[in-house]
Symmetry: D4
């Protein structure tokens, strides 16, 4: 029920064409539907300035291109994750300037619309070089949401000096995303050094009893460093999004 | 090697009692140990004002009392989690004014030392009444770390109106902790309504294929609401600590 | 043992050609076999009017075509699930008018034989667009079994307003099938709004700790909304069949 | 916003004390909260005549008694599940006539308010005598919701003749609940004989690789009989509730 | 140490060339090695007449052909399991008359050497047509080991009459192998009808919560029919071998 | 319909009191029920001489005593497994001479009725002394079913000589039951030495990653010795029963 | 066949009482049994000086006392693990001077017989104070096997400086046992600092998704520090034993 | 902070350009960074003579070639594991003499720089021929780290005589690596025969309930032979590295 509908209702009531009871019944019956739209508006407003995100996995190239086209025509920021090169080729047809990050597997466009929204730096730390796919997804997400980002690559706990030698970088960050596969031990060490929010991302990097990322996931959930929170295996996007939400609030 | 030791070293060097090489060798050899203390100091300073926390599970009553006594004698805030009544009785002997929260199973003391450190409100939301043990642990932790807290109890998704009727409270919070057992679906709904950081805590409440909290844990890790992060099953303390870290940074 | 056989037996007994014991032994020894056929008849009759279903997975193209040919020659409704395009090509050779639903991966024929058997509408609700393969299988199954169907697509809990804005559709259904991957939270919300039977179908859509659909499966089994029942992961056919059985009985 | 509030609003608007815009703003701002109550009312009405249910597990005796007292004072039907003898003793103090079913572990009261709502018979079948706790919970739930119930006990598949000898009972039912632990094979056999809805309930009865009911749960989810749906391990209440919802709709 | 060696030893001892202690030391040190050969001999004899088996999985075509060639040159029966068509092509080069069973994925040769060793019939029963790969492997194994075999295909529990209509065949067997995927319920029913040894083989046929055969495996281990034993998932060979061992002993 | 009933029917038919059609109708209508009893009789006859078995777990003392009393009054052999001392005390009241095996946790009576049915010896081998509870259950079962039994205790693979030193005993057995917890490696070694049927029983003996018997269960299912079959964790009864079935057939 | 038996044989052969063939047959027939004793002797000698160990779990007090008595009467070192106070009380009756380590839950005696066998120091490191039960078991085992031990307690990775401040101790060790629960991250850090063998012991310390030690077990198996090996959850004895074997060989 | 930096600092202090406090502050602030480098140096020295290892999995051919080039230019030993033929082709371009072991999937170069560092022989034992990929990786690793190696192939426990016939080889080794898939039982038998360190490597060889190596992993962790330690599934490199560390220390 739009504002115009309600106005019509009120006017008919004032004219006497509708009784008090009729107005109330009309309002009541439309309430749930109204809420739908109201929440929708609020929802959109609430997220204003944040990129709408397309999760490409399981979508055809045509579908991704169609949604991407709509977003760009509305003058919004484009972020598509888990995109293949074929997805990118399809998107390119509707958005010439779209950019593809092969490592992160993201498609982005309208970057000029990104406005700085983060109050500090989001630092993405990885245990190994093989974790950088997930790290790049987190970085692209954080950047498209208006954050300044930094990285600290290949500082796994088996050579703890590599991490300690960079402790200033760790302490200067506002939020830290720690990406690690294999034993997933890095977030515990980082979480014990700093006092900023630490988001841990387990990756499916490893073999044998890694069980597709289950090993580092359990490690991180059981982290002995208080205050570490965890997202799904390989979920760089989720980590980048959560970090943005935290960083934005300052 | 303390500051005083280094001062002595420098003075002897100035006096000529020690050669340049001797000073360097002394410094080098003590470096690792020094670091231990240096980091320790820094560590403590870094966390300054935050309560030291005793995890009572697996500790004898004597051990808990002894650590608690030391903390109180140093004039620090006391927070002990997973404490039994017996732990409390033992602590009472060394800290008369210690308080026991039977639901949260926490022992606290020196609450007057808590200074407001959070910039907004930490809201703890629970799906069912049975989740409140975990919720109380989160609340006590957040409060002892200087935060203002609010609660929204028993608003599980099976009666979605209960949650929606309280949407203002949800939007007014700075950080939201969502505690849920059984299907663990609540964080997804909350995360879709608000744009503040949401920390999900799975609980072991439920039966059958709940598998001791595994079901809600997996639900939360797979949340379709972007930006939800997760802590260990029943880990109210971890959620409260992470929320404090986020809230403090504003 | 047919009626004629028994008659023969009785007559021989009356004539004295067979002793009492011989008659009893003959009857006993044929009993189990008799049951086999009796049940078979009953079984066929019981299901009369319901399409026979071919599960194509693990069957060669030749095998599927051969069974399909037999069904069509007997003038029955054809429904084949988990069919590849190659299966379809093979079936086309024996059944020119057979139809292939690429999303549902079903082959159907003799649709004109379908008679309305459901007393109300079966509504299929999906959390995301990626769940529609499974949803389509459920829809084709329900339709071929004589039901009127409706759909509500992409109304996952992370944007709860999308669902609430359609609550009339939910309440007008006789049976609701809810298809969801990732966190699998949607059936709990739907089950809390309506008072009709809700069948939940977990899908393998998702990644990481989704573990091939295990996460939404556990969520649904632990649903805090009473009365939700669950079928196997990705089992759209099973959900459509169960819904038909429920709908048919009114 | 209650009906009275809206009436006041409309009258002030008619009198001219409030402008059109003021009325619309008042209505809009209260919408979300209103929905809460509206849905609540609808919710209650929707379920009218159905007993409110207390899940006693994890609630203190005082809590259960207090809720039970409130339900009875409102003149509603009482059903409490997973109740201990201590819960019962506490409830007895507020509801003298409350009845305790030791096998089902249910507390019930105001049974005279139960009105017949089911159109057919709900049949509860168990594989072994050890499954009857769960079966009794399903039976009490179905009965309190106004259904006629029947039982078929100890007809597990290892002695298939016991089941086949009762096939009439199976075919006369409107909905069948099959309760089985150990190998959980019974629902597949029952589902192959009848054409009415079959709800399978795995139980934690068994040992070794039963893994607390996981074995029969997986068996049932993979049932080769189409149309079988499954509820959580040991969830007699859920099965009874779902069966009632199905039975009521005819 | 061969008999000849020991003779030499004894003779040298008699001649006085070796002392008592020297003889004992020589005997002792060779004991473990001797056992090796002794057991080996016994082992070979023990299995005499039984085909040597090549497990092709993970072996190159060259390796399989080489071992097969050696077996045939020694005039033994050839049985190779899990063989691809490429393995077969390679074997054909060394054994012209080798036969390939495409369903069972077995290569066999020297069938004329098989001598009847089983005292009764080994019956292989399958729940569905998709289980026949595993069933064929069991059949080939049993046949090559000198047994008479029978089959009963596609008699799953969802149509129990199909099984009961064949109960004579079941009771006439000496050993029964039951192959089933999906819910794995068939061995429980068969085990309740007959009093001969039943070997259950779970297959990876199914989808979703079948988890690669875990579901039927657990079902079979928890079978409520006493006396059912189980082999590994898809292990037709193991079942055929065990059945042969049982059948041979009569 | 009992044999007597059928006789009456036939006689009335012969006398002319019943027409041919009436006899046929009476026989037909009672078929399913008759089958129940027929199969039951056949079932009993089929198993003749074998003890009926009470599984006490989850049964009250009264229930066990009642069933035991009935068995004894019918002059049958009594075997009850998983019996507590309390179960025994209750059984003693109805069966003075009942015997309790505290290690096996079995109650037995009417042992004088046991007739030798096994053609060879059933050998029960255990890896450790802690496995003997399960071994004793297997032994009691095998003995009550008329078999001669032997044991080989504490011959785990970590001291392989203990096993090899007893190889004659191994080779003299007709069927071997191997009971092992921890690594569950023993059946593989035994299965490689002998050519008789080997039934492996995993036990829940062990700790840590034994996971309640899961470790030895998986070991045994993956045994590299062909022909080993497996029963459920701690299922001594099942192993004893299966071994009897195998032994009896010679 | 003992050495004396063989001597008799040889002498009879020399005297001509036994023929060459008779000697050979006697030797052959006794080989397997002989091996048993031979290996046994060798086995014992091989392990000479190492304590025999009683695993008390699942043994009665009487059994433990009986074995302990036999060991002490033979003048050997006594080590019993997983011993309760009741086990100790029973052992005290046969061995007055036996010592009980309440934390390690070990019983020891004849410590004066322990001879130094290790060439360096075995260092036991623990992540938390709650891991010390397992650490103590490792220490007692290592000490009773003749090693010098050191400890480094409560140096978990969340406060990495505590570990680094003790790096000398780490580098001075010959073998390091690292005991850790919760996230199990410590062995990875230790393994990256030192170049001596590191044995990791996961403990069941933790809660929630620790799953009884599964989390640290997986972490350790996936350790990114090369050369870390792992023993079973809570298996302090195994770690101490393995460390002794390594240390002894230098 | 290098030695030169510290010297400058001391000289400025002596000259009076820097106060005592300024020197201390400079030293303190650089401490953590210093440690980084110090440890790094030590780290490198510690490992001196040991090959640096490239884990090729998840690295592009270009990346592997680039790192390999750098290692060779520095005159170090090259060892790359999990290398494909394509990786090798790329490495060949920068290192002509690089060698590829197709079974082990390793690339090696500068083998002439390997100096003997092991004091005894490392023996690699495999249960089956399919385990040799993992065995070869262990062998290459051990060899490149300066050890003498031996092998014992295809001596699985199902033919125990094959192992016993080689017991001398087992006893002559300094460290034994046992590689086994399927039931993983071999390390328990080996560990019971020898008194040298045994490292067990589970492999993913097998099918069905092997679950990608989980079965042998659990078997080995639960080994009843004391002193067996375990590495990750298929982790031949880790086993070879750990064995080298143990062997080097003598």
């Amino acid at each position: 029920m739009t504002t115009t509908n309600i106005k019509d209702l009120l006017r008919e009531y004032k004219r006497g064409t509708l009784s008090e009871d009729q107005v109330i019944r009309s309002l009541s019956s439309s309430m749930v539907e109204s809420l739908g739209h109201a929440t929708l508006d609020h929802h959109r407003e609430m997220r204003q300035g944040f990129p709408e995100v397309i999760f490409c996995d399981g979508k055809t190239e045509g579908e991704v291109a169609e949604i991407a086209g709509r977003i760009i025509r509305h003058g919004s920021i484009l972020l598509a994750t888990r995109a293949t090169k074929k997805h990118y080729a399809a998107v390119r047809r509707v958005a010439r300037k779209a950019r593809y990050n092969e490592i992160a597997r993201t498609i982005t466009a309208n970057e000029h619309l990104v406005t700085p929204r983060g109050h500090g730096t989001i630092l993405v730390v990885t245990a190994g070089t093989s974790d950088r796919q997930v790290a790049e997804e987190a970085l692209e997400t954080a950047r498209m949401m208006g954050n300044i980002t930094e990285t600290l690559i290949d500082v796994g706990v088996a050579g703890i000096h590599r991490l300690l030698g960079q402790s200033r970088k760790l302490r200067d960050a506002s939020v830290i995303i720690v990406v690690a596969g294999m034993d997933g031990a890095l977030p515990s060490v980082v979480g014990g050094i700093v006092d900023v929010p630490v988001i841990a991302v387990p990756t499916s990097v490893g073999y044998g009893a890694n069980f597709g990322g289950l090993a580092p996931l359990l490690t991180m959930l059981n982290s002995c460093a208080a205050g570490v929170t965890v997202v799904n295996i390989d979920n760089g996007f989720g980590a980048g999004f959560a970090a943005s939400t935290i960083n934005r609030k300052r």
